[in-house]
């Protein structure tokens, strides 16, 4: 092989490898599923498992939040679908919501998920048109989760027992 060809091939390989390294550092995939999911979503070929998503939605509407999350994880193993991540966050919210107090152990992962959903949505705007939900946008859900995690004087308001789960 001519040296020029070797040099050209080497340069191409190096550029591709360098781009892959930068991409890995930016995306930080944790599993092979996340790695392949991130790759396919980069080229616009990523799809959630429709059957698993529908199962998750059914469980979610029946207030069976843990099975719902398991189904949503199955539907979106690479965690690349904003809508599925929104529902996972919402399931944490509904499960952690309490009339007297909110469960921080559930609100924290919920907040992480909704932030992820916002990051995945185009221009960070995510609106889910689902009549079963009282909050349709990821921004509303994020604000609600943040408010639940915040400790302030309003936590002592006795009228708080009359608030409703969204």
């Amino acid at each position: 092989m001519r040296e020029t060809n070797v040099r050209a091939i080497g340069l191409t390989l190096t550029i591709v490898y360098a781009i892959a390294i930068v991409w890995l550092y930016v995306r930080q995939p944790q599993t092979v599923a996340e790695l392949t999911g991130s790759l396919t979503s980069t080229v616009g070929a990523y799809h959630v498992d429709r059957q698993a998503f529908d199962d998750g939605l059914r469980f979610f509407r029946e207030d069976k939040f843990e099975p719902a999350r398991a189904a949503f994880h199955r539907a979106d193993p690479a965690e690349q679908d904003a809508r599925t991540q929104f529902y996972i966050a919402y399931s944490y919210y509904r499960q952690g919501w309490g009339r007297i107090y909110d469960d921080d152990a559930l609100f924290k992962p919920g907040l992480e998920r909704v932030i992820k959903a916002i990051a995945l949505a185009p221009q960070g705007r995510l609106v889910v048109d689902d009549p079963n939900l009282q909050m349709h946008s990821a921004d509303e859900l994020k604000a609600e989760l943040e408010a639940g995690l915040r400790t302030d004087a309003s936590d002592l308001n006795p009228l708080g027992v009359f608030r409703r789960r969204k």
Binding site: V6, R7, I9, G10, L11, L13, Y25, Q28
Partner: protein, 225 residues
Amino acid sequence: MTGTAEAVFLPLVFLTVALLGGVRVTDRVALLPPPLFTLVLGLLFLGVLVKSGALAPHRLVNASRSALANVNGAVVIVATFFASVQAFNLATPEAGLPRLLCDVFLVVLLLNTLAASPDRVRVLRSLMVIFGSAFVLKFIVLAALADPEGGLLKRSLLALLEGLTLGTLTQVTFHPATGYIAFFTLVLFMIGLTLLPSNVPQWPQVTIDGSARIASSDDRLTSRE
């Protein structure tokens, strides 16, 4: 240095070091980008390589080479820089007092090496000692102190460090795989450094017909290759 080594082997070796240098395995795998200070260390390190002749930039980029060869050469230099940055990222402790002390120590050591202007072989030996010591400090000594279960080494170190608050020394506990990856990465880095085109000084050479001439660095390298 062959075109294959320059265009394929060296960039891939150094980019692999740049990739693996940030790998930290805990309950998840994290890829840590280099802290800003390691960029400073990397730049000083590149200066040490050039000054000692372990890296000869003029053999990688010069007017007599083709444009493509010059691009390949520039890529090797850039890849060497990023690999050294990540090697420092890997070898220095993650946080706290050990990190501060290690960073200061490395800066002083690199400045001292620059001032002393040792030759290529001495610099490579010295770098092996620096990275080897840093590896032992981070992945054996500090890891033993951070180990929640603790072993004989931890008990011995605690006895030695009696009276010192361990809060200033304790580091993140990594999965043992991190140490193995780090060792492999540093060895790969050292291999890459030894393969860099070096600046060999000229020396007199007697030809077959008895006439003396000055051998160029390229003569010596060609015969070695």
